[in-house]
């Protein structure tokens, strides 16, 4: 029997960049044009095989609107990985992404896996953020980077596979709950690293 490993992952980024659409595509393989903005945060899970383990992603899809900003630490705290999303057609959203990275570096868990997703790559004809900028930036902070399209199901699986590969192998002393920390008081001590 394969070991199940729970990985807490949070999605961060500006409002309207497609965080929920990415999660919806990944978890349900479904896309909705008229999706409403997330209120608060939304929780979903998906289990995928990775090598000889099963990775159960506990996904926190957070709301991008400013009034929910102060809640973010609750979701990235104890996370094994953070997916930070921007919209390739909106320069501002790339700027917001950098702010999120900065916040994660300062207050996030040590060794959190960071993945940058440039969403809406199906709209590359109205692109504002060159792929090169994102690549260089990602390299400078040691993050995974990929351009995605939740609409056309481009690179969504790959994004999460990339995260899976970056998760350090199980330490035999740990109990298989690496990063699978509950959103509760017992969290931060165990950490995702």
């Amino acid at each position: 029997m394969m070991a199940i490993r729970e990985l807490k992952v949070c999605l961060l980024g500006d409002t309207g960049v497609g965080k929920s659409s990415i999660v919806c595509r990944f978890v349900q393989d479904h896309f909705d044009h008229n999706i409403s903005p997330t209120i608060g945060a939304s929780f979903m899970t998906k289990t995928v095989p990775c090598g000889n383990e099963l990775h159960k992603f506990l996904i926190w899809d957070t709301a991008g609107q400013e009034r929910f900003h102060s809640l973010a630490p609750m979701y990235y705290r104890g996370s094994a990985a953070a997916v930070i999303v921007y919209d390739i057609t909106k320069q501002d959203s790339f700027h917001t992404l950098k702010k999120w990275v900065k916040e994660l570096k300062e207050h996030g868990p040590e060794n959190i896996v960071m993945a940058i997703a440039g969403n809406k790559c199906d709209l590359s004809d109205i692109r504002e953020v060159p792929m090169k900028d994102a690549k260089e930036y990602a390299e400078s902070i040691g993050a995974i980077v990929v351009e995605t399209s939740a609409k056309n199901a481009v690179n969504i699986e790959e994004l999460f596979q990339g995260i899976s590969r970056q998760i350090p192998p199980l330490d035999p002393h740990e109990n298989g709950n690496n990063g699978a920390i509950k959103l509760g008081k017992q969290t931060s001590q165990t950490g995702g690293n």
Binding site: T15, S36, M44, Q65, E66, R67, F68, L71, L183, G184
Partner: protein, 549 residues
Amino acid sequence: MAADVHKKKGWEVPNGSLTPGDGQHTERSESPTPGLAQGTEPGAGQEGAMFVHTRSYEDLTSPEDGAAVARSPEERCGEPGEPTTMEQISKDFSELSTQLTGMALDLEEEMRQSKEGKLEPSPQTTRRDSVLSGKEEEDVTMDAWRMHRKHVFVLSEAGKPVYSRYGSEEALSSTMGVMMALVSFLEAEKNAIRSIHADGYKVVFVRRSPLVLVAVARTRQSEQEIAHELLYIYYQILSLLTWTQLNHIFQQKQNYDLRRLLAGSERITDNLLDLMAHDPSFLMGAVRCLPLAASVRDAVSSSLQQAKAKSLVFSILLSGNQLVSLVRKKDQFLHPIDLHLLFNLISSSSSFREGEAWTPICLPKFNSSGFFHAHISYLEQEMDLCLLLVSTDREDFFTVSDCKRRFQERLRRRGVHHALQEALRTPFYSVAQVGIPDLRHFIYKSKSSGLFTSPEIEAPYVREEEKERLLGLYQYLHSRAHNSSRPLKNIYFTGPRENLLAWVTSAFELYICYSPLGTKAGAISAVNKLMKWIRKEEDRLFILTPQTY
């Protein structure tokens, strides 16, 4: 920041009582009489209420003075005074007689005129626009913008735009500046502007520091009712920010642009305004229940009750904008306004359909200084059944999520799942079930339980405008019945397209709409028959045994 429920025992209730006095619920007469004591009317809870007891317009601290209410001398209406018998009622209604028809025709006329206005945008298109594109802005210089039946503006005391129902706030900043100037001008003289009446328009101001809310309406609503809607908008904003945070922000920076913090919430406010134009819940200040066999509802309620957790304050199951079940912490009462805001939140966003949502929410009438944390999820993808678990602890997501799992498990084990599904297939009942041929529609509210019941709106009120017109008539009767300077107990209204009758007692409110060919005597006997029917069906239409954890 969690709302402190435990310290809230010494509730402040405007009218002094939370629940009807104990021991009043025992006698439930077969055929209700007008002299029914509060707590014994059809729909009254047998074990007390689940809501805070409210009056109509309880929040309007300054009562309307008589001067603001135009009244023609011909109008004669039932004077306040407790009617004791059915005969008395029928006598009162006879006296009302046809004098009211003159006024009724005016109303018809005005409604017809407004409908013929060619520039009038249809309510559906504007609504669709605002939902689809978030905020596809209209040109505020166009006539179409001016022709909207009701505008709502929210601004800060610095005159900065916060919200506008139609058109972009930026484009309206000078208009809002004028509004603020009007408010300040009168305040300098230690006066307060309440409304301006001109050319068929009512401009109503509600001041809730640090915000000013303004409506420009040419609906038939009274000033009081429009102000009541503005208060709902104010509470809606509080539910996102809390009163404490809102005040703190403006204390720090008087000219803060609040739109930053409210970004993305416009559709919630838009939806609230749309709902208020269609759903009588807001007018009645009460909550409608999904019709459900008492045994099924009891099973659902006790399943909810058993799936409790320490931090849970309210467990609410709802379908559409109807309540299926509500379980609350002992000694904690929900206010209907807070529940309406929750209903609105859920109906305004499709995002709750995916996964489990966890969001801070302030219930301003419960405690405007703190956030609760609500777990919101649909029980099944294809089923319109939404579960709302309100917790005091923002770290308690997984505990609360487990409550949902336990609730669903219990539902399955009790085998009520299927019965629930059946009930959801017919979320509204037909007025034909009452068996009164001339009866077209009615609204009945039990005051002690804060619940009301109403059948589906059927022919001839098929088109959206027709439905709104019917609600407009109810609004009109309601505003006459609750006019603070001259409240009425009985109103008989004769119109060319329908007759209406309103009857307000200390225990209940009843509004019926029936065929224009029906006679007054017929209407009065219909009331009698209808009340008996509601009594007979009350355990299906109301929640008579509210549960606590």
